[in-house]
Symmetry: C2
Subunit: 195 residues, 2 copies
Amino acid sequence: MNVAAERKLTILNTALNLVRNMGFESLSIASLAKEVGMSKSGLFAHFNSKEKMHLMILDHAAYTFGNDVFKKSLKSKRGLPRLKLIVHNWVRWYKTGEGGTCPFLAAAVEYDAKPGPVKDRLQLHTNTLIATLNKSIELCIEQGHFKPKIDTKKVTFELYSIIIGHLVYIRTMELKSANKIFQASLDDLIKRNSA
Amino acid sequence: MNVAAERKLTILNTALNLVRNMGFESLSIASLAKEVGMSKSGLFAHFNSKEKMHLMILDHAAYTFGNDVFKKSLKSKRGLPRLKLIVHNWVRWYKTGEGGTCPFLAAAVEYDAKPGPVKDRLQLHTNTLIATLNKSIELCIEQGHFKPKIDTKKVTFELYSIIIGHLVYIRTMELKSANKIFQASLDDLIKRNSA
DNA sequence: GATTCAAACGAACGATCGTGCTATTGTGTA
DNA sequence: TACACAATAGCACGATCGTTCGTTTGAATC
């Protein structure tokens, strides 16, 4: 990889980590520069505006998430095994000490009520995420693992919901039993929809 | 009510609205002062520090939420009717145009990784919220509406999850069918646990 | 080795941040 | 009505914000 491209990747990875631990607004260009180890103006030149920086972080988050969660699940057989791996990868995103909250959730807090390019991008990525999850549930039907009659939109919603719920239980409440409860709910959800 | 107390209520209500639409960090003392219509230093005197302001907003959010969602549900008969009203009141919190995201979710984004009094308070309120929800589910068992054998912690988790999920579907994705999907999931959850 | 061009830097800008002061206003009580 | 005191305002502070500018560095090209 290019030297310049590597540098940019380092910046975006660092930025993503910071955003996932303190939100978007708290991430100043100066603090990010210090974290990366370069000057404020030097880092600024990579983005040319804070809004563009936010957009790039959002894109990088989507790219990273797509890789870590969805792409890595392709090595499992399509259908239920793959769906399970997706959930497993997803949950790992929140559990690792290096991780943090969902970057899209962080963006949502600050941008849901602020129309503009950032909110649009956030919406795009969130829609893609849900659509991808929905697709992998449809695959479960196709493979005969789930009942054909189920409402995949509803199942997608429920699965996404307990993942976000798990995030809150783990990070905000720091509940010891969060993993166990989540797993029980997940198993139950799968059982309800299994053929 | 006292003039001073009324003023403080106005300040806190305004602050809460702002927080629910742009997060905690974006809420500066100056911007809040302007919104309320008073001077920066005049408003500052009410809190004496930004951290204390965040704490008071958090407390006010908990108080308001407790009133709007839980206290107002007491007029319904205990058990399932009351639980349904709780959920109804809760969802209304997100749907009104004046509303916004969950203030505790907003705080979580910025404070989950920052140990200190604010995170402690956030944790306290979130725990209380979940405990109260759990209690009202236990009441459903007591009243014979829910099966006695169900794991109330798990049901609480699932109910809380779809409410948060609904919030994301409504506010971030702005999905037209969000209400319908949520209602279907809610009905399903109730049916699964009904005696 | 000279030239070129992008990357990074240091310094500075106006604006705003949170936070102290002191003075002034307003409210409730004697 | 006069007094006491809380509430608010005005002003200034150092720090930090996003941003601009001109300069310096470093690597690739000729």
